[in-house]
């Protein structure tokens, strides 16, 4: 009897210990993951507001000094011109102002916006009708096309970059068409994001009941008109998500920008401009200001589409 209660109590306390250990492990894990994912980005922000000299003397300072933040922020108004005497001197002490004004990041922002924007527009113009056809219309070769998309998805970018590099130079010299510019690069982005866009969109179109569209067609609308008036509005959230995702890919892309735009500084995108900033003459903290400028828009976009995106991504596979 006593023996029994004893083992029972023993087991109970063992369960309590186990549960407590489990709880501790859970909170330790949460803290660990939050630390490794958020701290590096916090550190980027921190370094971007500190003078490089301060980073050298005090590498572990967790928060920038107030006066350092002011030195960085005040010259930002020089973007809009103004007091040249103040600006000329102050810009060099402000990581953000220096990157934006002296190192042309304003221009790179514009270039990146145009390039990524054009890629999104072209990608949707091609992907929406194609994915509609793939999910709704019957035609020979449809299954082969689906498999083909998955295979294209796995192509090595560095391998096609060699022949593309040769082609673009030859096309320029023999036909006079320059493709080593944002147009050529956006064509490559378009081709490489297309499989993904097709995949995500056709998955979504399949979830829209065809009855709605058939009702419109009974009323006399043509297939394309029904697509335009019924299916596209219904798929708007998915189309927006795919568009923003393509935008993110084009905004972040580095290899093809490096290959085809590096000789043309006026056309540099943000990632390429940032990479070119990496030299001994530029204070390291400027690199962090540049990184903040590239990263923040992406994080904001991501918060808008997080819910849709995680669903759309895990429905299949996504290139990374």
């Amino acid at each position: 009897m006593t023996q029994q209660t004893l083992t029972k109590r023993n087991r109970m306390s063992r369960d309590v210990v186990k549960r407590r250990a489990g709880k501790a492990l859970k909170w330790f894990s949460i803290a660990f993951f939050m630390f490794i994912t958020v701290f590096p980005f916090y550190w980027m922000l921190n370094l971007s507001f500190r003078p490089f000299q301060d980073v050298l003397t005090d590498p572990t300072r967790l928060v920038p000094r107030i006066e350092d933040i002011q030195t960085v922020l005040r010259p930002l108004r020089c973007i809009f011109g103004g007091d040249t005497e103040f600006c000329d001197a102050a810009v060099r002490n402000s990581s953000y102002a220096a990157v934006l004004i002296e190192f042309n990041f304003l221009r790179f922002i514009r270039n990146s916006l145009i390039l990524a924007g054009a890629t999104v527009v072209m990608s949707l113009i091609i992907a929406v009708p194609s994915s509609y056809a793939m999910s709704r219309l019957r035609f020979r070769g449809r299954e082969a096309m689906k498999v083909g998309i998955l295979l294209i998805y796995l192509f090595p970018g560095i391998v096609i970059s060699i022949p593309l590099f040769v082609f673009f130079i030859r096309i320029q010299q023999s036909l006079g068409i320059q493709l080593r510019n944002p147009i050529g690069v956006s064509l490559i982005y378009l081709a490489s994001t297309l499989p993904l866009a097709l995949y995500m969109l056709s998955g979504y179109f399949q979830t829209i009941p065809p009855d709605l569209e058939e009702a419109a067609r009974i009323d006399g609308a043509s297939r394309l008109r029904a697509l335009w008036l019924v299916t596209i509005p219904l798929a708007a959230p998915a189309i927006a998500t795919v568009g923003l995702y393509v935008f993110m890919i084009a905004w972040n892309e580095f290899l093809f920008a490096l290959l085809f735009l590096v000789e043309n500084p006026d056309a540099w995108t943000l990632p390429l401009g940032l990479q070119q900033l990496d030299s001994q003459e530029v204070p390291r903290t400027f690199l962090m200001a540049g990184s903040v400028i590239i990263t923040v828009p992406i994080l904001i976009i991501f918060f808008f589409i997080e819910r849709f995106l995680t669903g759309g991504l895990t429905a299949g596979g996504v290139k990374g």
């Binding site: 091609i126 019957r138 294209i152 090595p156």
Partner: protein, 327 residues
């Protein structure tokens, strides 16, 4: 032609014939519309991805250097040679292939393990779970250029936070990305291939959120009555993990492994931006880039590109065969 045949059909059952004809033309029209809609995308992909991939093979058999580009005739097949393969596939290639394999397998496995752990945490209920799930994806969506620079500054030998936080100063400080091997003062002085380990850690950090997303989605699809039944039978949480959750995750983990393996195998930017392939981290893609732009030898770069694709196909084929045999 089909239409003509139908029209010539015998008179009896004419209505049915007519009906059939309309159905066929409808199907034909549907297919025609479909082709019209998919053709632009197919053309683009053929032109920009498939055609270059095939032409890369042709380039690999031709002695082309940068200086030949202005007068290069793309369709001149008179000078085909195996020299590129002889020059490219020397000891340096095999060293890079070895590094690539280590880098790929370690990063892939590491990302899946970390992603699995994060997903097991995120399936529990706790305050701030939504924020946890969103924030954990940061490394995956942030531009690689920023991430690489952040790591480089954090790991800098002289002013990096990591060395400072570990109390490593002066001669003790570690060049995380610049030393081929270093003695770890806090691990009893073991020698480790430190730069390679660091780029692997970067790759794991950047891609575990991807594994996390997929594994979490799969975990949430496991019916909850399986757990309820196990609880009734008195299964402990660790038993539930071992006998219910993990078996259910086998397929998704196998898929993740193959996807991440392929994508890591030809990853270029990450190592290029972190340390340019220095200190024992030269993977195949970086070596191809160096042949192209440092040595300006297009033919050899193309040959290595073929080698890279071939190696990938072989590894994936072997993996598929083994996994396929298991199931």
């Amino acid at each position: 032609m089909q239409d003509a045949q139908v029209e010539q059909g015998p008179g009896n059952g004419g209505r049915q014939q007519q009906k059939r004809r309309r159905r066929m033309t409808l199907a034909a029209r549907e297919a025609r519309l479909a082709y019209l809609l998919v053709v632009p995308g197919i053309l683009l992909v053929l032109l920009i991805i498939l055609f270059p991939m095939i032409w890369n093979i042709v380039l690999s058999f031709r002695p082309i250097r940068f200086r030949d580009l202005p007068e290069l005739n793309l369709f001149d097949f008179s000078e085909l040679t195996l020299d590129n393969y002889r020059d490219g596939f020397g000891p340096r290639f095999w060293a890079a292939l070895r590094v690539t394999m280590i880098y790929t397998v370690a990063s892939t496995v590491g990302a899946i393990v970390l992603g699995l752990w994060a997903a097991l945490v995120a399936k529990e209920k706790f305050r701030g779970r939504g924020a946890f799930r969103a924030l954990i994806l940061f490394p995956y969506i942030a531009p690689v250029v920023s991430s690489a620079f952040i790591w480089r500054l954090m790991l800098d030998k002289n002013f990096g936070i990591v060395n400072a936080a570990l109390g490593l100063e002066g001669r003790d400080s570690i060049g995380w990305l610049t030393s081929r091997s270093a003695e770890m003062p806090f691990l009893g002085g073991i020698e480790l291939p430190i730069a390679l380990l660091t780029v692997i850690a970067f790759e794991i950090w950047r891609y575990f959120p991807f594994a996390f997303l997929f594994i979490l989605a799969r975990i949430q699809a496991i019916p909850s009555d399986m757990y309820e039944a196990a609880q009734v039978d008195g299964a402990s949480p660790s038993q539930q993990l071992r006998y219910i959750t993990l078996p259910q995750l086998r397929t998704v983990i196998a898929t993740l492994f193959i996807l991440r393996f392929i994508w890591t195998f030809y990853k270029f930017e990450d190592i290029y931006l972190l340390n340019g392939g220095a200190a024992g981290t030269e993977v195949l893609t970086v070596q191809i880039f160096n042949w192209l732009f440092a040595r300006r030898n297009i033919g050899v770069a193309a040959a290595l590109g073929v080698g890279l694709a071939a190696a990938l196909i072989i590894f994936v084929g072997v993996y598929q065969r083994r996994v396929g045999a298991e199931e």
